[in-house]
Structure formats: structure tokens, C-alpha cells
Amino acid sequence: MSGLTPGDKEAVIQIRQLVNAFGDSVIHDHLDLDVYRGEVLGVVGGSGAGKSVLLRSIVGLNRPLAGSIKVFGQETAQEDGEDLRGLQLRWGVLFQEGALFSSQTVAQNIQVPMRRWTPMSEDLMDQLAAMKLALVGLAADAGAKFPSEISGGMKKRAGLARALALDPELLFLDEPTSGLDPISAAQFDDLVRNLQRSLGLTVFLVTHDLDTLRATCDRIAVLVNRKVKLGTIESLSRDPDPWIHEYFCGPRGRAALEHA
């Protein structure tokens, strides 16, 4: 349990020899990956390359065929949900559409983890929920609304607020900017970067968005040919692999990079 501590280069997530397959199609073939404390790692790859499967494997929602995944030194790949309890407090997950509980207001959504894990009074939880809302850039009156009453962008912000409810050290974001207009997407990138700095987060960010990669990520992991290739935008854009080349040097890639 730590909020902010001076950074040391420690692998928060350690993936070794991960194998995932559905039927005959192998998604991950002996994949290795380290995520270090305090960095923002962007994960990209074509549709069906296994980005979301990788994320789900790390947080224990998907049991891989083989291999080990350690988060804060604790094995997550082969454990049941019960045994992950220590970790569930230390990470926050933002799902693609926010995954807000539709029967509860936004504020109640943010308070779900608090209610589950801490003895805080209702007053304090209300105050903290208001603080989290302000932190992710939502107006205080959004707290009383139901998920069906707010827009997609607001849902993502509210989902982020819920993921941050217990001040986790590690944040998983699954395509945080997909479906947002470019202005909202850029604001969300800023928000993630800003929160990452002020809260000292480690961020595992799955995305399609080149602008997000450029704006927020320290390192980039490309899922290609069932393995992972690590680097920065600059180093990866010189990679010989045709998919990576097309991704970074295609028309959209170039446009995003030219702004850099």
C-alpha cells in the first residue's frame, strides 16, 4: 500500500511465457512483458491481436493456457478471484464503455469500492466522491445522475473516477479514447497524464489512438505475430515489421507524428 513514493525502477507487472488460445487460434505465444513502476505503457495492435485478452489475463478475468503473470509479485494468471483480493485494492480498471453499474448513480458507483473495503461514514464518502469527480473533470451535479443519463465521454470519466476510488497504484485503461470526439479525446489524454503524474500511477493503456500514444505513453508495446515488441514511437517507426511500419508510417501515423 503506497500512494506516492520516490520512484524506483521496479517491475510492477511481470509477464513470462504467456500462452492464450481460443480453440485453434493462438492469441499469445510465449509472450514476455514487464511494466515498470511509474510509467505509462501503451499497448497497441490490430483488431484481434489480443490487447484486451492481455489486459483481462493480467487482472484475472481470463485464465491463460500457460505462463505466469505477476502483479506486485503476486501471481494472477492461475488464481481465483478470491485470492486476488489484496491486488483488487491496488489496481483500478477502466473498461471500454465505462462499465458503470446502471442501477446506481455515478456517485454511488464511485463509492462502491469505498463501501466494500473501508469503514468511512456516508458524509466522508460523499465528500470523497465529489473530490474524485472534480479530479476527473466532472461537474459535481453529475454525481446524482444515473449512467443512462450521461454521455459516453462522461461515462468514461465516471468510470475513471470509480477506478481511482481507492487510490490504486496501478491503472488499467481499455481504449479510453475510443468513441470520443478529438477534443474530448485530447482532454482525456491530458487528464490521464496529469493524474498519472500527480497520483504517481503506473498505467497500462490499451489503445488504437496514435494521438493518445504520442501524448501519454512513455513506452509502447506492439502486439504483433502473437508476441510483443517494445519501444518508443521513434524506434518502432523504424521497425521492419510490415504491420508496425504501416501503423506508424501510414497516413494516419504520419499525421499524428508530425504534430509531435
Binding site: 446502471s102 446524482a144 443512462s148
Partner: protein
């Protein structure tokens, strides 16, 4: 009070101490100011006695860890002190905690908004009113929908170049009729056994066991066979209609159909209504037969009536009319089940909870309507002398 989850417990508990020197004071914070400690420190901070203090320095320079809950508590303390006319000269924070604190400080941290909707007596009355209006609107809409489907059905049948959706129709017959055979058969058989047993038990007292067969034949063919089959089908297929069409609504598939210019009533509703009418008719007949067989097995074991004797007695007890009176209700029941199922499915809103809620409602409504209609039929038949 519940305990903090073990994993949220901190290494060094958060502490605070007020050191007074005359009219100024230092509030010294130490330990880990993390979310696990927030509940405890919230109470300690509220109990802080600062009477007689003019200016105060918050010294958090020596705290171990800090997260947003801790930083926010420090910020709130400062705001509360300032609100009670104490000058906060400085907030000392460790190097790493400053960006977080400044971020919270710059954010708009007004008073906590009212998140809970409290219930008053007025709300209660309002809910009753809303509920009443809702039922009325619902009935109005259902009748409107009935009209629309009827018109579309006639148009589809009458217009020569109007292609009926045959593949969907066949598929629905399979889903609502063929796959329902095992469950309907099983239940009808068991019901036949139960009826025969209970009938025999009562009629034995009057030495009239043989009339068990009349009771069974008339009861099953006229009423029970159709009613039970309709109720099973309402639970099975009516709910499936609502859930399927409802999921299509959630995925915006019905919206897509509309923008392409497809007729939703014709594509989604018509095949289901027609298929269910056909299916339920045959299912009812099948249930009648299986139910009688169940009764026949039971009378054989319970009363020792052989199958040929059973058939002779049955022939005397029932006529074709008995069977038809039961079967004529089946298409009406089917129409109601399919109509309600599709109607509720099309009312689903774009959230996941809506599908479940309307599916439940669809089943409850169709079963209610089936039983109400059955009662109406009974009255009608007795007036007509059938």
C-alpha cells in the same frame, strides 16, 4: 463499525498532534495518510479543538505516504480552519505530495453535492400517480400496437407482391414449437397423472371411479391442456421474444433497420406472431393427447382399467366439439403471447437492466392475459351453450 479491509491497513498509522505556543499553533501530521486511514482521521480531525488559536501551520512534511484521500483531508482541514477565522500560514508537504495537493487545490472543491434522493410523502404520491398513468399509457400503446400489427398482417397477406418472411417464420416455428415438445409433453403427461389420481381418489367414495375418465377427458381437452401449454409457451417463447428484440434495441439494430427503411413490424413481429399461432395450436393438441395418455397410465395402475376399456369410456365422454372448444382458444392465446412479447421487446431502452425488467413484465402480462381470456371464454361458451 466495520473494520478496514486487511489489505488497506497501513504500515505506520496516521497521527496528528496540535502544538500550541500562545495564540499560534502547529498541526503536526505523521504516518501514512492513505484511504485506509481516512475514516479514522476524518473523525479525529472533526474532533480537533482549536479554540483560542489565531494562526496555524499545518506541518505534514514528515508523513510517510500520501494519496488523494489523505491530501484531500489536509485540504479540507485547511478550508474548515479558514472558515472558522483561523489564519493558516503554511501547509508543509513532502516533495512528492505537492503536485497532488496542488491539483486538488486548483480543482473546484465546493461543498459536497447532494447525491442522495431523499423520499418524502409527496414523492410517494407522485409515484402512485406516475404508476397509474403508466398503466393507462401502457394499455393505450398496446392497443395501438395491436392495430398496427393487424393492419400490417393484412397488408402482408393481401398484397400479392409482398414477400412474407418465410425463413424467419420456419425458424420461429422450430424455436417455439419443435423445441418445446419435450417440456410440454413432460408436463402434460405429469398433469394427466395428477388429475387421474386426484379424480379417482375422490370418485372412489361414490363408487364412480369410471367417471375419472370423463373428468379427465373433458377437463384436459376443454381447459387444462390449452391453459398449461399457453402458460409454458408464455414463459418460454414470450420471454425469448422480448429478450431477443430487446437486445436488438440495445445494440441499435432496430434503429439500423429503420434507417434502411425496413419494416420492423413485418420483419420482427409478423413471423413471430404467425409462427406462434401455428406452434401453439399443434402444441395444445399434442399436450391434450399426451395428457390423456398420462391419465390412461395412471387409471390402469390405480383403478385397473385397461386401455381398451379406457378408450371406450373416453369415446362416450367426449366429442369432437370438446376438443375443438379447447383448441379454438390456442390461436388467441398465441396471438396475445407473441404480441405482448414483441411489444415489450420494442419498448426496451438502451440499457442492460431494461431488457431483464421488460422480459419479466412480458411474461407476467401474457400469463395474466391468458388466464383472463380463458375466464372470458368460459363465460362466452356458457352463454352460447357450447
Amino acid at each position: 463499525m466495520r473494520n478496514v479491509a486487511a489489505h488497506l491497513a497501513v504500515a505506520t498509522p496516521a497521527t496528528l498532534k496540535l502544538e500550541r505556543t500562545g495564540r499560534s499553533a502547529r498541526l503536526v501530521l505523521a504516518g501514512d495518510w492513505l484511504v485506509g486511514e481516512a475514516a479514522r482521521m476524518d473523525e479525529t480531525l472533526r474532533a480537533l479543538n482549536t479554540t483560542g488559536v489565531n494562526d496555524l501551520l499545518i506541518d505534514a512534511g514528515k508523513i510517510g505516504h500520501l494519496d488523494s484521500a489523505g491530501a484531500w483531508l489536509i485540504l479540507r482541514t485547511r478550508h474548515l480552519l479558514e472558515a472558522s477565522n483561523i489564519r493558516v500560514t503554511h501547509v508543509e508537504l513532502p516533495e512528492y505530495g505537492r503536485p497532488l495537493y496542488q491539483r486538488l487545490e486548483s480543482g473546484s472543491l465546493g461543498p459536497a453535492a447532494e447525491f442522495h434522493r431523499r423520499q418524502t410523502f409527496g414523492d410517494f404520491l407522485e409515484r402512485i400517480g406516475r404508476g397509474t398513468m403508466h398503466v393507462l399509457h401502457q394499455t393505450y400503446d398496446l392497443v395501438g400496437f395491436l392495430g398496427r400489427v393487424t393492419v400490417e398482417t393484412w397488408e402482408a397477406i393481401l398484397s400479392p407482391n409482398h414477400e412474407l418472411p418465410w425463413p424467419a417464420f420456419i425458424q420461429q416455428i422450430e424455436e417455439t414449437g419443435l423445441t418445446a415438445l419435450p417440456i410440454v409433453g413432460m408436463l402434460a403427461f405429469l398433469l394427466g397423472i395428477v388429475l387421474a389420481y386426484q379424480g379417482a381418489d375422490q370418485l372412489k367414495r361414490f363408487n364412480a371411479e369410471i367417471y375419472t375418465i370423463d373428468f379427465l377427458g373433458v377437463g384436459f381437452l376443454r381447459e387444462l391442456g390449452g391453459l398449461v401449454t399457453a402458460i409454458i409457451v408464455a414463459g418460454r417463447s414470450g420471454s425469448a421474444f422480448t429478450a431477443h428484440i430487446g437486445t436488438m434495441r440495445v445494440n441499435e439494430e432496430t434503429d439500423a433497420m429503420q434507417t434502411i427503411g425496413l419494416n420492423i413490424a413485418e420483419i420482427l413481429v409478423l413471423p413471430r406472431v404467425l409462427a406462434l399461432i401455428v406452434s401453439l395450436f399443434f402444441l395444445t393438441f399434442y399436450a391434450d393427447v399426451v395428457g390423456i395418455v398420462g391419465g390412461m397410465v395412471m387409471t390402469y395402475f390405480d383403478l385397473g382399467i385397461t386401455f381398451p376399456a379406457f378408450m371406450r369410456e373416453l369415446e362416450g365422454a367426449i366429442s369432437l366439439r370438446t376438443l375443438l372448444v379447447g383448441l379454438i382458444k390456442a390461436p388467441v392465446f398465441a396471438f396475445v403471447i407473441a404480441l405482448v412479447g414483441c411489444f415489450e421487446g420494442l419498448r426496451v431502452e438502451r440499457n442492460a437492466g431494461s431488457v431483464g425488467r421488460l422480459t419479466t413484465r412480458s411474461v407476467v402480462e401474457s400469463i395474466f392475459l391468458i388466464i383472463a381470456l380463458d375466464a372470458a371464454f368460459s363465460v362466452l361458451f356458457s352463454v352460447l351453450g357450447v
